[in-house]
C-alpha cells in the first residue's frame, strides 16, 4: 500500500492546545507525579512505625529546602488532580461539554488549584 503524508490531528508542533487540552494532559502528568509521591507517603508512615529516630530523619528531609519544594509541588498536584478529577466526573455525567463552559471550568480548575495550595500552606503555618 502506498504511504501518503497525511496531516496529523492535532498537529502538536503548529497547533496551540486549548486550555482544556492543557488541563487534560496536566491531569495525567499530576497523576504520574502523585504516583511517584506515594514513595514519600510510604516513607513517612514506615518511618513513623519504625520509631522516633527514623521519624526524625524523615522530618529532617520534609523540613529541608528540597523536601519543602517537593511537598509544595505534591500539594499543588493533589489540588489540581482533585479539582480537575471532579470536572472529569461532571463530564462523565454529560455536563460541561459546551466550549465556553469547558474553557471557564479550565480557568477555574487552574486558579482553584493554586488558591487551594496557598490556603493549605498558609493554614498549616497558622494552625
Amino acid at each position: 500500500m502506498a504511504q501518503f503524508e497525511r496531516p496529523l490531528s492535532p498537529h502538536l508542533q503548529v497547533y496551540r492546545l486549548p486550555l482544556t487540552a492543557l488541563a487534560s494532559i496536566t491531569h495525567r502528568a499530576t497523576g504520574v507525579g502523585l504516583g511517584f509521591g506515594t514513595l514519600l507517603l510510604t516513607w513517612w508512615l514506615v518511618a513513623a512505625a519504625s520509631g522516633p529516630e527514623t521519624y526524625a530523619t524523615f522530618q529532617w528531609f520534609a523540613g529541608s529546602i528540597v523536601g519543602l519544594i517537593v511537598l509544595f509541588g505534591f500539594t499543588w498536584a493533589l489540588s489540581f488532580h482533585l479539582l480537575n478529577g471532579l470536572r472529569h466526573l461532571f463530564w462523565d455525567a454529560g455536563w460541561g461539554f459546551d466550549k465556553q463552559v469547558s474553557h471557564k471550568a479550565s480557568v477555574a480548575v487552574v486558579a482553584g488549584s493554586v488558591a487551594l495550595t496557598v490556603i493549605v500552606w498558609l493554614a498549616a503555618y497558622i494552625f
Partner: protein, 129 residues
C-alpha cells in the same frame, strides 16, 4: 449499534457488553468509584495534616493510633494505591507500544503499588494496634 440482522455479534455478546477486551467498562468504572471515594478521604487527609503540621513524634503517633483515624488512613492509602494502579495502567497502555516493555513496566507498577500499599497499611496497623 447495527440491527441484529446485520451484526456479527451474537445476542449473548451484545447483552454482556464486554467487547473485544472481554472487560467491558469494568476498569473505567472502578477508576470512577475509587475517584469518588478519594474525594472525601483526600479532603480529610489534607485537613488533618494542616492541623498536625509541625507536631512532635508522640502527637503524630497518638493521632494515628485512634481507631477512626487508623481506619480512614488505611482506606486513603488502600484506595489511593488502587486508583494509582488503574491510572498508571492506562498511561502505560497509551504510551508504551512495544509489547514486552509494556508488559514489564505494567507488571513493575503493579508490584510497586502492592508493595508500597502493604508497607504503608502495615505501618498504620503497627502504630494503631
Amino acid at each position: 449499534m447495527a440491527s441484529p440482522r446485520h451484526s456479527l455479534r451474537s445476542p449473548l455478546g451484545a447483552v454482556r457488553g464486554l467487547g473485544s477486551a472481554k472487560d467491558g467498562t469494568h476498569h473505567w468504572w472502578l477508576q470512577r468509584v475509587s475517584a469518588i471515594a478519594l474525594i472525601p478521604l483526600t479532603i480529610w487527609f489534607v485537613a488533618s495534616l494542616v492541623v498536625l503540621a509541625g507536631s512532635p513524634y508522640e502527637v503524630f503517633i497518638g493521632w494515628v493510633a485512634q481507631p477512626l483515624v487508623a481506619v480512614l488512613l488505611g482506606l486513603f492509602v488502600g484506595v489511593g494505591f488502587w486508583h494509582l494502579k488503574l491510572g498508571a495502567q492506562v498511561v502505560i497502555e497509551d504510551y508504551i507500544h512495544a509489547e514486552s516493555t509494556k508488559l514489564i513496566v505494567s507488571m513493575l507498577v503493579n508490584f510497586a503499588t502492592v508493595v508500597l500499599g502493604a508497607a504503608a497499611i502495615f505501618s498504620i496497623l503497627k502504630i494503631a494496634i
